[in-house]
Every structure is written in C-alpha cells, then in structure tokens.
Subunit: 204 residues, 2 copies
DNA sequence: CCATCAGGCTAATGATATTAGCTTTGTGGC
DNA sequence: GCCACAAAGCTAATATCATTAGCCTGATGG
C-alpha cells in the first residue's frame, strides 16, 4: 500500500476544495469523511495531520482571513478616504461572492483565551486593522475610530451575509443597493469625523 | 407505560428551551436526541409530531419571526420617521441579545420553491414589510425603498450578528457604536429620500 | 543494515438522524 | 359497556459522523 503523501497543507487544500464546492454552507458541510475520501485515505488517518474537525475549520478560517486581508490591501493601495473605503467594501463583497464558503469561515470567532487560537486572533486583527487604517484617512478622532470600524464592518458584513444567505428576494438591483450602503457608510464615517464626541462618558 | 402527552406545539416548546439554553449557537446545537430526552421519550417518537430536525428548526424560525415582528410592531407603534427607525433598530438588537438562539433562527432562509415553506416565507415577509412601513415615513421614492430596506437590514443585522458572534473585541462601548450605526442609518435613509434617482437604469 | 518513527490502517465507541414495523392507549361509535 | 381504529409510543436497524486506541509498515538516518 503506497503512501498517500499527505501533509497538513495538503489536507487543508482538500478541505478548501470541499468548502468551495459547497457554496455558502460549504464550511458547515465540511466533513472529515469527505476530505479523507478525496485524499484516498481512511478518515482516522487525517488525525495525523490535523487535530480535529474544528481545527481543520480553523485552518480554513486562517486561509480565508489571509486572502481577505490580501485582497483588501490590494484594493486599497494607493487610495485614501472615501475612495479607499469604497474599494475596501467592494473587495470585501467580491471576495464573499467568489468564495462564499471561505467567507463563512472568516466569521468564525477565535476563542479569546485558547492559546492555540493566537494565530487566528492575529489574522483577524490584521483584517480589522486594515479597516482601521483605511478609516484613518478620514481624520477621525481617536475615540471614534472604533465606532467607525464597527459600523463599516457591520454594514458590509450584514449586506454580504444577507445576500449570500438568500435573504434578499429579488436578485436584481443588488449592486445598486450595495452602492447605496457604501454611500451611506462614507457619509456616516465623514460625519463621525466631524462631529464632536457625543460622550456619554469620556470627553476631552 | 403512560403516554407523554406530546404534541407538535409541546415539541416546539421544548426545542425553544434547548435553543435558548444554547446561546448564540443554540440553534445549531439543537438536536432531536436532546429534545426527546427532555420530553422523556425515545428519539424516534418525535417523528410523530415533527417531520425532521430541519422541520423543527423551521418551526423555531417561525416562532422567532413572529416574536420579532411583534416586538418590532410594539416598539414602533405611534412613532414615525427617525424616531420609528431608531426604535425599530433598538427592538431588533434587544431581541437578538435576549434570545440569541432564536435570532439565529430568524436568519434561516426559506426555500423559495418549497410549498411547505410558504408560511415561513410569509413570516419573513411580514418582518421585512414592517421595516418597509417604518421607512415609508421618510417619504422615499418608490424605487428607492427597497435599497433603504436592505441597507437598514444589513446594518442592524450585521452589527447584531457580529456582536453575538463575539466579533467585537471590547465589550464596552458597544451601545455607543450601535448608536453611531443607527444615526448613520437615519441620515442615510433621509439622504436616500432626498436624492434623485442615481439611475444606472430606470430614470423618471 | 537496522532502528525509529511518521503516516497509514483496522477496530471500536458513541453521537446522531432517520426508517420500518410492532404495541399499546384512548376514544368514538355502536 | 365493548370494540375497532388511529394516534402515540416503543424497539430494532441502518447510515453517517467524529474520535480514540493500537497495530503495521515503509522510508530514512545513523
């Protein structure tokens, strides 16, 4: 019996294929059994390369986060302000539509305590940091940046997530609706940059 | 052996308990086996009352959609314009935080073709319709209402979904960030109401 | 050339859903 | 009151998973 020549990376690659093949639910449908079958190997053999199904999902999340970071960086390089924000939002949505399963993986939250999840947390922080960097160009007061980042993430993620889940009935005009959202985000962040701290608490 | 006296409704009620007990992942963790155990009954017995696990999830979604509709209606009655929209957004978030598992069920998309899902589709349309009604008070042009509804849904759902999933690191100041989002939605919808059709297509 | 060990395997356990078919309990009609 | 029948349980069986334990072997480094 010849060796299959697997490796952690090879297993992750096969998992990605299965995730991609499954559409928006590809991540949820990911199964060690199917990965093993596609590798031509018995299921338990995978444990030589990967700790568990959950760990494999985490690996997929890492790849997806890195890809999203790269795509976001590429889309925003050389841009600033509204221009950059628009490009970022578009890149985000494009990635989600091109890789719905992987985008779902992006949403997996790392355990804040688990030491094994350090890499995961770092990868997540990188994407979020990128959003922060883009918003920095708006000249937001420091204590409002976090609100702006959250609002942008919420808007874009919410739209994409509803779109992928089939939450919008008519498939038509989705682009226009998304444009409306992005316009709103740009305007909202701009406002946030100008407005003084509303301060239920801190106030400089 | 005395009858357990189950019924479709009783099973759904137990399912709701399990969903509620499971936090944000309560819906995903819903299991016929556990429901049966809590009913004091063997698992296959449940099939006398419910078609499948998926069908039970659908029942949960129906309840959640109805509750969300009721809560939204209660929150917005007697209000209009920005006031109504703010109340709606708050009600939405409050419901999600009070019943994370049920809120996840709201996100289950009904099959657009399955005749069994007609009720599910109708319940979904009711909540969305309510959003439309609230936004109607902004005097949006007809062909922009759909964009506004989508933008509002995206923003609120995105925020709540990230919040529940633990996507925001610092738990503090979440309320302020949400307020910023709602402010932005109000401003955005208002703008949409004033702006002329940008029309990549139709243009009156 | 052999010892080690990484990378496979089979076997076993334990969830889970789901189907089939049997049994019993209530109940409605006579 | 009694009986037939449907509803509501049950057990048994199948199939899919994940996961653990323990064995076997091929590649590889000394």
């Amino acid at each position: 019996m010849p060796r299959a020549g697997l490796s952690r990376d090879a297993v992750v690659r096969l998992a990605l294929e299965q995730v991609d093949a499954g559409g928006p639910t590809g991540l949820a449908d990911l199964t060690l059994a199917k990965v093993a079958a596609s590798a031509g190997v018995a299921t338990p053999s995978l444990y030589k390369h990967v700790g568990s199904l959950a760990a494999l999902r985490r690996e997929v999340a890492l790849v997806a986060l890195d890809e999203l970071t790269t795509a976001s960086a590429a889309a925003t390089v050389g841009r600033a302000g509204p221009d950059a924000l628009r490009a970022l939002a578009r890149a985000w949505r494009d990635y989600a539509r091109a890789h719905p399963g992987r985008y779902a993986a992006v949403q997996l939250a790392p355990d804040p305590d688990a030491p094994d999840d350090a890499e995961h947390r770092a990868a997540g922080a990188r994407v979020v940091g990128l959003v922060g960097a883009v918003l920095h160009g708006f000249g937001l007061p420091d204590d409002r940046t976090i609100d702006a980042v959250r609002v942008v993430r919420a808007g874009v993620h919410g739209f994409v997530s509803l779109e992928l889940a089939g939450g919008f009935r008519l498939p038509e005009d989705l682009d226009r609706s998304f444009d409306a959202l992005v316009d709103m985000l740009v305007a909202g962040v701009t406002t946030l940059a100008d407005a003084p701290p509303p301060a239920p608490k801190e106030q400089s």
